[in-house]
């Protein structure tokens, strides 16, 4: 978790320029930066090269828990108050698959949202931001100490930034 620090904010109009800038930053050994894009983009995602998201583990565990809960709920209720319906066995697994499937989806989706919130909160990074990053520009905010800012600014500009400003 990093708190608000100063740095350099650059905005780009083109995907290839932005992904080029990201690659140059990484080649220079600068890794503490945040990228904003208006829409998800494969090329930028590949340039950033995030590790695999830990959220998917939440989804898996949520789904498995949901599946187990679905069978547990239906079987427990059937045996707790046994009623023979239509001559079928008390614990009929075939129709309970439907409940287990639905709860798998429900718990899986819920766990995904919880995981997303949890990890976003834990890794929250406050940095400079502009409204146009949700519109038609791609933003890169690089956190760096004052003495490196000139170097980073030159680097971002060389990569084709439309605008670069230093945030203290």
């Amino acid at each position: 978790m990093s708190t608000m620090t100063g740095g350099v904010l650059a905005s780009y109009r083109f995907v290839d320029a932005a992904s080029g800038a990201i690659r140059t930053l990484k080649a220079e050994g600068i890794r503490d930066f945040t990228v904003y894009t208006p829409v998800p983009n494969v090329e930028i995602a590949q340039a950033v090269g995030h590790r695999v998201s830990p959220v998917r583990l939440w989804t898996l565990l949520g789904g498995l828990l949901g599946c187990a809960s679905g069978f547990a709920l239906t079987l427990w209720m059937s045996f707790d108050w046994p009623l023979v319906v239509g001559g079928k066995p008390i614990g009929s697994v075939i129709p309970y698959v439907v409940i287990a499937f639905e709860l798998t989806i429900l718990f899986g989706a819920g766990a995904t949202i919880l995981g997303l919130i949890f990890h976003s909160w834990r890794n929250r990074q406050m940095g400079a931001y502009e409204g146009r990053f949700t519109d038609d520009h791609i933003g890169i905010f690089v956190r760096c100490p004052t003495e490196r800012r000139a170097e980073v600014e030159a680097l971002l500009r060389a990569a084709g930034a439309e605008e670069v400003r230093v945030e203290s």
Partner: protein
């Protein structure tokens, strides 16, 4: 080598694909299979031979037709990612005439197959009578064949015109004849694409309707008092899955054979793996949708079909089918690495492919014989014989037509899919 030379090489190899291995394997297997079939059909157990003939006819017709329908879906959805591999699916088109001939042969053994000939079913009216079943199924197969061939022909035309300088002799004459006055002008290309855009949806609709009909007539009618409305969809989606797995296996084969590593990359295998994964789940979904209502309704005429297959002698086969089509590919292909790695990709696709064959076996066999599952030399030989016929027809296509499409390749590369 520069990218231009790499492409030029791939185009040349694609127009002159090495097919000797397909031909040799195809001829050997077809002769062994045909010999076994004739010996068994003339011998002491003709029923067994004809049942195997029906199972393999259904399975391999489904493989070929499913693969071409997959190519059609790519045209409808404008899926350019499949450009480098689409011809490996379309190459199955030449098996369709073979399958029509097989259908004609199938009716020579009708008395061994259709119980409603000896025991007519008044409940179904005239629906299940030999002439009516024969003519409507023949018309269905012919309609599908004509539409498929027309679809593949129009997709081939621009490529044949572009690649005619790469071939010589009789192939050159054939390419010139197909290309005609086609020189690749934008208007001509547009005209070709208009035809494809019209044929592809037509083919998909015909496939859904007519394969349902074939499923009803050639599988469901074997137990004439059993019915499930969803069975047609179950049959043609299973066939679609085998078309996909065949395409996946052939993509790995041709990638190696034509040295196309530069244009068929991890993305194509990854996407195909995802599709096989998705349609394995869809198969399980359709299977369960039928099982659930039959279980709930608990009507004797409906449950007997399922009961016969899920309990008793056939139970191990049913479990194996569930494992091979659904559970094993599900757990296997859920991983990215397993989809990209050629060895695991091929293994899981082959398991699914054989799984659907076993499913067809399980659908046909228990309706027609009192004996339990039999797996011996005839089963293996006749099935391999059909595989041989398929490889022969496929090899003939690859020998004649370009296995690489320069224009679809260029389109795919433009979007960064390789």
């Amino acid at each position: 080598m520069s990218p231009a030379t790499v492409h030029h090489e791939i185009h040349r190899r694609g127009a002159n694909a090495p097919t000797a291995s397909l031909f040799v394997a195809g001829i050997v297997l077809a002769i062994v299979g045909l010999g076994t079939f004739v010996a068994l059909a003339m011998g002491d157990d003709p029923g067994r031979a004809w049942r195997l003939f029906l199972i393999n006819f259904l399975f391999f017709t489904g493989v070929a037709q499913g693969a071409i329908v997959f190519a059609a879906t790519q045209k409808i959805t404008k899926g350019v990612w499949a450009g480098p591999i689409i011809r490996f699916a379309e190459a199955a088109a030449l098996f369709l005439p073979v399958s029509v001939v097989c259908f004609l042969v199938l009716f020579l053994g009708k008395h061994h197959l259709f119980p409603w000939i000896e025991h007519p079913t008044p409940l179904r009216g005239n629906w299940l009578t030999v002439p009516w079943v024969f003519w409507r199924d023949l018309a269905a197969l012919l309609a599908l064949m004509v539409t498929s061939v027309a679809f593949v022909y129009h997709d081939l035309k621009p490529d044949v015109a572009e690649l005619r300088d790469h071939v010589t002799g009789w192939k050159r004459a054939l390419y010139d004849r197909i290309a005609g006055d086609y020189v690749g002008s934008p208007e001509q290309l547009q005209a070709v694409e208009r035809r494809i855009n019209w044929l592809a949806p037509l083919l998909c609709l015909l496939y859904a309707y007519l394969f349902s009909l074939l499923g009803f007539d050639l599988i469901m009618s074997l137990a004439p008092y059993w019915m499930s409305n969803l069975f047609g969809a179950f049959f043609f989606m299973g066939a679609f899955l085998t078309g996909l797995t065949m395409l996946g296996l052939m993509s790995v084969f041709w990638r190696w054979k034509l040295d196309m590593g530069a244009v068929i990359g991890r993305e194509q295998l990854h996407d195909l793996g995802k599709l096989v994964f998705a349609f394995s789940i869809f198969w399980a979904y359709l299977m369960y949708s039928q099982l659930l209502v039959i279980w709930y309704g608990n009507l004797r005429e409906e449950t007997s079909f399922v009961f016969l297959r899920l309990w008793g002698d056939w139970r191990p086969i049913a479990i194996l089918v569930g494992l091979m089509i659904f559970l094993i590919p599900f757990w296997g292909l859920i991983w990215v690495k397993a989809k990209i790695n050629r060895v695991t990709f091929t293994t899981f696709l082959a398991i699914s492919f054989v799984g659907v064959w076993l499913e067809r076996y399980l659908l046909v066999q228990p309706s027609l014989t009192e004996a339990g599952p039999m797996f011996g030399a005839p089963e293996i030989a006749i099935s391999l014989g059909f595989l041989g016929l398929f490889l022969l027809a496929y090899g003939l296509f690859a020998r004649t037509f370009p296995m690489v499409s320069p224009r679809l390749l260029a389109k795919a590369e433009l979007t960064g899919h390789h």
